[in-house]
C-alpha cells in the first residue's frame, strides 16, 4: 500500500466509469472491535478509506466527528492502536489517515511516515497543515512512498489553488463549503464552479468532502469531481446503530451511475 495504491484505486474507478467513494471512519469508534468491523465492511463499498485518528482539540470537525473522537480517545485510541488495526486487515482498499499536525509532530516526521508505511497506510490528510508549512512532511512522505493529501477550500484564491494543485499527490481534498465537517442540504452554484475550476487544473483526482450525505449530493456535484468523501453522515449512522450498508450502499450506487455528461478525472 502506498501512493501507488491510491493512484491505482482512482485509475480503476475511472476506467470502470465510476466516481470514487471514500468513507471516513474514526479509529476506535464506536469501540476498537466496532471500528475493525466497520473498516472491513466499509471496504466493500469504498475505493479509498479515510481513517481519523482522534485528537483532543480538532479545529475542522463538526459536532458529530468531535463526539466520536472524544469517545475514541476516552477508550484509549492512539496512533499505535490505529496503525495496528489497519495492519491487521487482510485485504481492502487503500487507507489514508486524517489527523492533526501535532499528532504527527509528536512522533517526529520521518518516524511518523515510516510507521504509516510499515502499517500499510497509503498517505495522510493533515487539515491544519497548510501548503506553506508542509515542505518537511511532504519530503518525509515522498521518501516513504506515501501521499501527502492537499486540501482546497472555497476561500482558496486562484493563484494559490494553482500552486497547491501543481504539487498535489494522490488526490486533492476539496472542501465543498466554508465550514466544519457536517451534513448539508444542497450546494450553491459557486461550489460546482469551484470544483470545475479545480478539476481543470488538477493533475490528480479532485475529491469533494464536507456535507456529502445523500445520493443527491453526488448527483449534483459529480460532473467534475473524481470522488466523494462521506464522514459525518456515516459516523452519525454508526452512532444511531445503523449499518455501514445503510449509508454507503446508496452512495455507492450514486457513484456508480453512468456518467452521461461532462468530463471527469
Amino acid at each position: 500500500m502506498s501512493l501507488n495504491a491510491i493512484k491505482a484505486a482512482f485509475e480503476k474507478a475511472h476506467s470502470e466509469g465510476r466516481k470514487a467513494l471514500m468513507p471516513f471512519l474514526m479509529s476506535g469508534h464506536p469501540d476498537a472491535e466496532g471500528f475493525a468491523r466497520n473498516l472491513a465492511e466499509a471496504g466493500r463499498y469504498a475505493d479509498v478509506i479515510e481513517v481519523g485518528v482522534p485528537f483532543s482539540d480538532p479545529l475542522a470537525d463538526g459536532p458529530v466527528i468531535q463526539a466520536a473522537a472524544a469517545q475514541a480517545l476516552k477508550a484509549g485510541t492512539s496512533l499505535a492502536s490505529t496503525l495496528a488495526a489497519i495492519a491487521r486487515r487482510k485485504s481492502g482498499p487503500p487507507v489514508v489517515l486524517m489527523l492533526s499536525f501535532n499528532q504527527v509532530l509528536a512522533h517526529g516526521l520521518d518516524e511518523f511516515a515510516a510507521r504509516l508505511a510499515e502499517a500499510g497506510v497509503s498517505g495522510a490528510i493533515v487539515p491544519d497543515l497548510p501548503f506553506e508549512e508542509s515542505d518537511a512532511l511532504q519530503l518525509a512522505f515522498t521518501q516513504h512512498g506515501l501521499a501527502f493529501v492537499s486540501m482546497l477550500a472555497p476561500t482558496t484564491c486562484a493563484s494559490r489553488m494553482k500552486t497547491i494543485l501543481e504539487q498535489a499527490y494522490g488526490f486533492v481534498y476539496l472542501i465543498s463549503v466554508a465550514g466544519v465537517t457536517g451534513t448539508r442540504d444542497t450546494y450553491p452554484s459557486e461550489t460546482i464552479e469551484y470544483i470545475r475550476t479545480a478539476a481543470q487544473i488538477a493533475r490528480v483526482p479532485v475529491c469533494v468532502g464536507f456535507g456529502i450525505s445523500k445520493p443527491q449530493h453526488i448527483e449534483q456535484l459529480r460532473e467534475h469531481a473524481a470522488g466523494f468523501i462521506v464522514g459525518s453522515a456515516l459516523i452519525r449512522s454508526i452512532d444511531q446503530g445503523g449499518t455501514i450498508a445503510d449509508i454507503l450502499a446508496p452512495l455507492r450506487e450514486a457513484c456508480d451511475a453512468t456518467i452521461t455528461t461532462g468530463t471527469n478525472q
Binding site: 485528537f55 483532543s56 482539540d57 480538532p58 479545529l59 475542522a60 463538526g62 468531535q66 472524544a70 480517545l73 492512539s78 496512533l79 499505535a80 492533526s100 499536525f101 501535532n102 499528532q103 504527527v104 509532530l105 509528536a106 512522533h107 487539515p127 491544519d128 497543515l129 497548510p130 501548503f131 506553506e132 508549512e133 515542505d135 486540501m151 482546497l152 477550500a153 472555497p154 476561500t155 482558496t156 484564491c157 494559490r160 472542501i175 466554508a178 465550514g179 466544519v180
Partner: protein, 389 residues
C-alpha cells in the same frame, strides 16, 4: 508567496500558520490590512484617541510603598486594572475592533477565559456597532459569573462551551470553528498573543502600549530603569505587552506561569514540549501521542495548555525567565495586596505579585515593576465559594 519568503510569522521555530485551508485567505487579508493600518496616520490617531478617551490611558505606574517595605525592595505596579473594563485586554480589543471595522467585517467572535477579554471585546464592539459573540468554557462561566452578566449587558451573545475541559482551550476551539464557518463577514478577535500569524504580532503590538508607558514612567520617577519586570503568563499578552518596552534594555524579564495544585498545572514553558496548538508552534502540555493535556489553575485566564510563540522563543534564548506560582501562593498575594495597598488584583495578576515577593526574598533591594494586569472583583464570588477569603 513561497515557503521561504513567508518567515514573518516565526519567532525562531515558533509561530507559523497551522490552520485549515479555509482560514488562510482570512489570515492573509488580516495581515495585509494590518500592514496598511500601521502605515496609516489616521489609524494611529483613531487608536490613540480611543485609548485615551474610551480606555482611560495612560494608566499610572504606582509605587507600592508598604509592599516595598514588607518585601524589601522597590515595588511598582503598572495599573492595567484601572483601564475601562478592568484589565489590559481592552488595549487589544479596541485595536482589533478598529481593524475589523476597516476590513468591513460586521461580526466579531472571541474566546474568553476569565471573561476579561470577553467583556473588553463586547465593550469595543458595542462602541463600534459590531455584532459580538463570545465563546466561554462552561466551567469558566460558572467561576467568572459577574463577567458573563457584563458581556450580556454590553449586547454580546455568550456561548457556553460544554466540551472536554470546559475552559479557555475549548472556547478557542469553538471560536475558531465559528470563524471557519463564516469567514467572509466575521473577524476573530483573539485575546492573547497566541494563534496563527499574524495574531501573536498584532496582539503584542496593541499591548505594547503597556511597556512603552511603563518605561517612560519609571524613568521619569526613578531616573533609571528597573532591575526586573514581572508579569503573569497564560497565553501571555499582558507579559508581551510590558516586556515589549524593556526587551532591548538591560532589564530582567520574568514571566509567571500557573502552578495549579502542583501536580496539575498550566505551566507549559516550565513543563511542556514544543508542539502545535491553535495555529502556532509553541510550548505545550501534551502526552507522547500529541494529545493536549488538561490543565488546572485557580485563575481562569491562565488555565491554558499552550503559550504564545514569542514567549516560547524568549524562553529558549533565555531572554526571559519563566517561573511557576501555585494557586495558594497566588491567593496569599491576592489578600496581601488588598490589605496592604487597598488594591484588589485579579487572581491572574496575583501570580506575578507572588513571584515578585519570592524574587525580593531571594535578592532583596531590587527595583521591580509588576504588571497588575487586571482587577479582582470578578474573582470574589469564586474565591468566597471555595472558602479561600
Amino acid at each position: 508567496m513561497t515557503t521561504a519568503e513567508k518567515t514573518r510569522g516565526r519567532f525562531g521555530i515558533y509561530g507559523g500558520q497551522y490552520v485549515p485551508e479555509t482560514l488562510i485567505a482570512n489570515l492573509n487579508e488580516l495581515e495585509a490590512a494590518y500592514d496598511v493600518a500601521q502605515a496609516d496616520p489616521t489609524f494611529a490617531a483613531e487608536l490613540e484617541l480611543t485609548l485615551r478617551e474610551f480606555v482611560g490611558r495612560s494608566t499610572p505606574l504606582y509605587f507600592a510603598e508598604r509592599l516595598s517595605t514588607d518585601w524589601g525592595g522597590r515595588v511598582f505596579l503598572k495599573r492595567e486594572d484601572l483601564t475601562h473594563t478592568g484589565a489590559h485586554k481592552i488595549n487589544n480589543a479596541v485595536g482589533q475592533a478598529l481593524l475589523a471595522k476597516r476590513l468591513g467585517k460586521t461580526r466579531v467572535v472571541a474566546e474568553t477565559g476569565a471573561g476579561q477579554h470577553g467583556v473588553a471585546t463586547a465593550a469595543a464592539c458595542a462602541r463600534l456597532g459590531l455584532e459580538c459573540i463570545v465563546y466561554m468554557g462552561a466551567l469558566d462561566c460558572e467561576r467568572q459569573r459577574p463577567n458573563v452578566e457584563r458581556m450580556k449587558l454590553l449586547g454580546a451573545t455568550v456561548v457556553p462551551c460544554e466540551a472536554g475541559s470546559r475552559n479557555l482551550k475549548i472556547a478557542i476551539n469553538e471560536a475558531i470553528r465559528d470563524w471557519i464557518c463564516r469567514p467572509a463577514d466575521t473577524h476573530y478577535l483573539i485575546g492573547s498573543v497566541v494563534g496563527p500569524h499574524p495574531y501573536p504580532t498584532i496582539v503584542r503590538d496593541f499591548q505594547s502600549v503597556i511597556g512603552r508607558e511603563a518605561r517612560e514612567q519609571i524613568l521619569q520617577r526613578e531616573g533609571q530603569l528597573p532591575d526586573a519586570v514581572i508579569a503573569c503568563v497564560g497565553g501571555g499578552s499582558n507579559a508581551m505587552g510590558i516586556f515589549a518596552g524593556f526587551v532591548d534594555d538591560d532589564v530582567e524579564l520574568h514571566g509567571v506561569e500557573a502552578g495549579g495544585h502542583g501536580t496539575t498545572h498550566a505551566a507549559p514553558l516550565n513543563s511542556g514540549t514544543p508542539g502545535v496548538l491553535h495555529g502556532a508552534m509553541q510550548y505545550l502540555l501534551q502526552d507522547d501521542d500529541g494529545q493536549i493535556l488538561d490543565t488546572h489553575s485557580i485563575a481562569a485566564g491562565l488555565d491554558y495548555p499552550g503559550v504564545g510563540p514569542e514567549h516560547s522563543f524568549l524562553r529558549d534564548i533565555e531572554r526571559a525567565k519563566y517561573h511557576v506560582v501555585r494557586d495558594d501562593e497566588a491567593v496569599s498575594a491576592f489578600k496581601e495586596l488588598s490589605r496592604n495597598e487597598g488594591i484588589i488584583p485579579a487572581v491572574e495578576s496575583s501570580h506575578a505579585l507572588a513571584y515578585a515577593k519570592r524574587l525580593l526574598s531571594e535578592r532583596p533591594g531590587l527595583s521591580v515593576i509588576v504588571n497588575l494586569s487586571g482587577r479582582g472583583d470578578k474573582d470574589l464570588p469564586s474565591l468566597m465559594e471555595r472558602g479561600l477569603l
